[in-house]
C-alpha cells in the first residue's frame, strides 16, 4: 500500500503538469531571459507568461506588481526591511505572536537593533483583538505584518479588514500568505494590502521560488541590488524553470480552487470527525469556523507528538506535530502556547494537512490507524489510567522540575 501524505502545509508534491512545463527550460531553452539572442528570448516570453498566471491567481491589478523571489522567507524579509528603509523615522512594527519564524525571528533581531515590536496576542481559538490593533496603529509604525492563514491551525486572520485599517492610518500592510494562496480565493486589487508573500512549494510548484506582491505605488526599497531584473526591485538572474513551474502551478490552483473548498474540505471534515468520534480526550485547535479547507490540527491529551508521528510513519502516514521534541527546542509550538493550550495537550498536537491529491480511501485508512496509536502511547503515559486520564492528572504526576 502506498504511503499517505498529509503534510501539505510543510510542502507539496510538484504537480506532474508543473514538471512537464519546466523541463524544456533546462536542456533546450536555457538562455538568460535578459539576452537578445534566440536562446534567451523564448525564456523571457515564458517568464512573462508565468508572471501573468501568478497575477491572475492573486487577482493583482498589474503583472508588474509581481516580484519573483527565491522563497517565502525572502519575500517576508524583503517586505519588512523595505518598510524600515522607506520610513526611517518610524521605529515600530506590528505583528502577531503566531507568525511564521520568517517574520518572528527577523522581528526578534530588529528588537535588538532598537525597533519596538508589537506582537498581537490571540485568544484560545487563535483570533486577534482588533481593538488592540487599532490602538497600536500610530504614525510611529513603519509596517504591519500579519499572516493570512496560520500554518499550524489553518486559522484565517481578517487581513483585508486589517489592511483597510492600516491604510486609513497611513501605515504599510504586509501579509505572509504562503498558506492561503491557492487554497482560498484571493483578489488583491480589491484590497488595501501593500505587500504579500507567496511560496511556490506550498502550491505544487518546486521549492526555491517565491513571490512578493507589491501594490503599484507602495514605497519600496530592494533587499538585493544588482542587475535590472524585476525592474530593479530584486536583482539576480531569474530562476526561469521554477518561474515557469510556479506559473503553471498558479493556473492549476485557480482551476482547482472550488475543488479545494468543497471536496478537500469534505475530506478534512471526514478525517476530523472520524478521529474525534473515536478517540477520547482530544480536540481541534484554532478556529474551526474560519480556517483553511485543508488543515486539521488535533491535540491528543497526555501524550507527546513525536511518538505519535513515529507510529504514524510506521503505518505509512505522514503528518507533523507542534511538540518541542520534533523541533529540538525546549518549548512546544509558539502557536499552541499563544492560544494557552496546556502543555499536556500542546505537546500532543498533530497537524494533518491535505491536498487535492488525497482520496477518501486514504482518509479512511488514517481514521482507523489513529485510535490504536493514541491508545498505545497512553498506555505508556503516567497521566493515563486503565480507561481514561488518572484523577487530577496534574497532581497525580508532578515531576520534579516541572
Amino acid at each position: 500500500m502506498a504511503d499517505i501524505y498529509l503534510d501539505n502545509n510543510a510542502t507539496t508534491q510538484c504537480d506532474a503538469k508543473v514538471v512537464e512545463a519546466m523541463l524544456p527550460y533546462f536542456l533546450e531553452q536555457f538562455g538568460n531571459p535578459s539576452s537578445i539572442h534566440s536562446f534567451g528570448a523564448g525564456v523571457g516570453r515564458a517568464v512573462s507568461k508565468a508572471r501573468k498566471q501568478i497575477q491572475s491567481l492573486l487577482g493583482a491589478a498589474h503583472d508588474s506588481e509581481i516580484i519573483l523571489t527565491s522563497c517565502g522567507t525572502e519575500s517576508d524579509n524583503t517586505a519588512i526591511l523595505s518598510a524600515l528603509k522607506c520610513f526611517p523615522n518610524r521605529k515600530e512594527i506590528i505583528t502577531t505572536t503566531v507568525e511564521h519564524p520568517a517574520i518572528l525571528a527577523l522581528c526578534t533581531q530588529l528588537e535588538k537593533e532598537d525597533y519596538v515590536i508589537h506582537r498581537l496576542g490571540v485568544d484560545s481559538k487563535g483570533c486577534l483583538d482588533l481593538e488592540e490593533y487599532e490602538r497600536l496603529l500610530t504614525p510611529n509604525v513603519a509596517i504591519v505584518s500579519v499572516m493570512w492563514a496560520n500554518n499550524e491551525t489553518g486559522t484565517l486572520f481578517p487581513v483585508e479588514e486589517m489592511s483597510e485599517m492600516a491604510h486609513a492610518a497611513g501605515v504599510q500592510f504586509h501579509t505572509d500568505a504562503v498558506q492561503a494562496v491557492g487554497k482560498i480565493p484571493i483578489d488583491l486589487k480589491k484590497t488595501k494590502i501593500d505587500m504579500l508573500s507567496v511560496s511556490g512549494h506550498k502550491l505544487h510548484a518546486p521549492k526555491g521560488i517565491g513571490v512578493l506582491y507589491l501594490k503599484r505605488g507602495a514605497r519600496f526599497r530592494p533587499l538585493l541590488r544588482g542587475g535590472h531584473q524585476e525592474r530593479g526591485r530584486r536583482a539576480g538572474t531569474e530562476n526561469a524553470a521554477s518561474v515557469v513551474g510556479l506559473g503553471k502551478a498558479c493556473e492549476l490552483a485557480q482551476e482547482h480552487i472550488e475543488f479545494e473548498n468543497i471536496q478537500v474540505k469534505a475530506l478534512r471534515d471526514r478525517l476530523e470527525q472520524g478521529i474525534l468520534s473515536q478517540v477520547p480526550n482530544c480536540f481541534v485547535t484554532g478556529n474551526p469556523d474560519n480556517r483553511l479547507p485543508n488543515t486539521a490540527n488535533i491535540a491528543f491529551e497526555y501524550i507527546e507528538g513525536e511518538g505519535i508521528l513515529m507510529l504514524l510513519n510506521k503505518a505509512g502516514i505522514a503528518a507533523s506535530s507542534g511538540s518541542a521534541c520534533t523541533s529540538g527546542s525546549l518549548e512546544p509550538s509558539h502557536v499552541m502556547r499563544a492560544m494557552s493550550i496546556p502543555y499536556t495537550a500542546a505537546h500532543g498536537t498533530i497537524r494533518f494537512s491535505l491536498s487535492r491529491y488525497n482520496t477518501q480511501t486514504e482518509i479512511d485508512r488514517v481514521i482507523s490507524a489513529v485510535p490504536p496509536i493514541v491508545a498505545e502511547l497512553r498506555r505508556l503515559s503516567p497521566y493515563w489510567g486503565e480507561s481514561g486520564p488518572v484523577t487530577e492528572p496534574e497532581r497525580a504526576f508532578a515531576p520534579v522540575y516541572g
Partner: protein, 306 residues
C-alpha cells in the same frame, strides 16, 4: 525526522517494562512537562539484599525519551542499588547505540529518575540540581545555561575563551552568533561592552598541498597527518578541562582515538568524540567514524593470502 539508531527505534516500538508496578517501594518522578519529557520510574527493591527485582516506567515524551526509559529498566533490573547508582546517562545512550545531541537530555532524565527512585526507596529527599537551557552548540551539546554560568563565573570576554572553557563553538562554528549574544548580555550586566573585533582565533590545520588536491585525494601518509593536525587543533580545548586525546589507529574509515585524563570516563566523552568526528569529516571531506581506542578489536586483523 531524527536520525535514531535501530536500537532506539526498537525500544520505542517495543518498549520493555511498561506501566505502573504493583508493590513498588521506590518511585521517582522527574522531567519537565513544559519541555515535553517526563518520566515515572517504579522499582521493586528487595529490602534484604537491596537488589532491584523489578523496574517499570511510565513516560510522557518523545521517541528517545520512551526508548531511554525502556533501556534504563533493562539495564538496572537485577542490579544492587549500589551498582545501579553507578549507571551514567552515557551508559543509557550507549545501550541505545547513541542519541542525537538534542536528545542526550533524555538519557540524563533516565539517570535522574533512577536517583530519585532510589532516594525514595531509602526514604531520602532527592534534590535536583538540574537546569537546562536551549542547546547552543550542537557539536559538543552545550546549552545556554552552562555557557552563561561560566561566562559569569570566570569573567569571560571572547568566543575563544568560551570555547576553551566549554568546548562550545569549537566544532562547526555555526553557533558563534549565539555565543556572542550571551557574551553581550552578560558583559552588559557587569557594565562592559563586548568587543566585536575580538574575533575568535581558530586554529586551522595546514591546508592540503595543491598537488594532493589535484590528484583528487590524499596519500595515506597525508591523510594521517591531516587527521593528526585536526586532533592537535582540538587538544588545547580538551586540556583546559584537564583532558586530552591522542590518535591511536586509522583503519579505513574508522579512526581510533584514546581519550585520557578528565576526558576518560567523563559524562561528555561521547559528545566530545562526536565533535572530533564532525571536525574530521569536515576537514577530510569524507565520512569517517571516530571510535574510542578501548573499543578497538583486540586481535590484529588477518588477511587471507591465497
Amino acid at each position: 525526522m531524527w536520525d535514531y539508531s535501530d536500537k532506539v527505534k526498537e525500544h520505542f516500538f517495543q518498549p520493555r517494562n511498561v506501566g505502573a508496578l504493583e508493590g513498588a517501594n521506590g518511585v521517582g518522578d522527574v522531567g519537565s512537562i513544559s519541555c515535553g519529557d517526563a518520566l515515572r520510574l517504579s522499582l521493586k527493591v528487595n529490602p534484604e539484599t537491596e537488589i532491584i527485582e523489578d523496574a517499570r516506567f511510565q513516560t510522557f515524551g518523545c521517541g528517545s525519551a520512551i526508548a531511554s526509559s525502556s533501556a534504563l529498566t533493562e539495564i538496572i533490573k537485577g542490579l544492587s542499588i549500589e551498582d545501579a547508582l553507578k549507571v551514567t546517562n552515557d551508559d543509557i545512550a550507549d545501550f541505545l547505540d547513541g542519541l542525537p545531541p538534542e536528545k542526550m537530555h533524555c538519557s540524563v532524565m533516565g539517570r535522574e529518575a533512577l536517583q530519585a527512585a532510589i532516594a525514595n526507596f531509602k526514604g531520602e529527599e532527592w534534590a535536583d540540581d538540574h537546569e537546562e537551557g536551549a542547546l547552543v552548540c550542537k557539536c559538543f551539546a552545550v546549552d545556554e545555561k552552562l555557557i552563561e554560568g561560566l561566562v559569569r563565573a570566570h569573567n569571560l570576554h571572547t568566543v575563544q575563551e568560551v570555547t576553551n572553557y566549554t568546548k562550545a563553538g569549537g566544532g562547526c562554528c555555526a553557533c558563534h552568533e549565539g555565543i556572542e549574544e550571551i557574551l553581550m548580555r552578560v558583559m552588559a550586566e557587569r557594565g562592559e561592552i563586548f568587543d566585536a573585533d575580538s574575533a575568535p582565533a581558530i586554529v586551522e590545520p595546514e591546508p592540503l598541498p595543491i598537488a594532493a588536491k589535484a590528484r583528487g585525494g590524499m596519500t595515506t601518509v597525508q591523510r594521517i597527518r591531516r587527521i593528526e593536525a585536526v586532533i592537535e587543533s582540538i587538544r588545547p580545548n580538551l586540556r583546559m578541562d584537564g583532558g586530552d586525546a591522542e590518535l591511536v589507529e586509522v583503519d579505513g574509515a574508522t579512526i581510533y582515538v584514546k581519550m585520557t585524563g578528565a576526558c576518560s570516563g567523563c559524562g561528555m566523552a561521547s559528545m566530545t568524540i562526536g565533535g572530533i568526528q564532525q571536525r574530521l569529516m569536515e576537514e577530510l571531506g569524507e565520512f569517517i567514524k571516530v571510535v574510542p581506542a578501548e573499543k578497538m578489536p583486540q586481535e590484529p586483523r588477518r588477511t587471507a593470502h591465497g
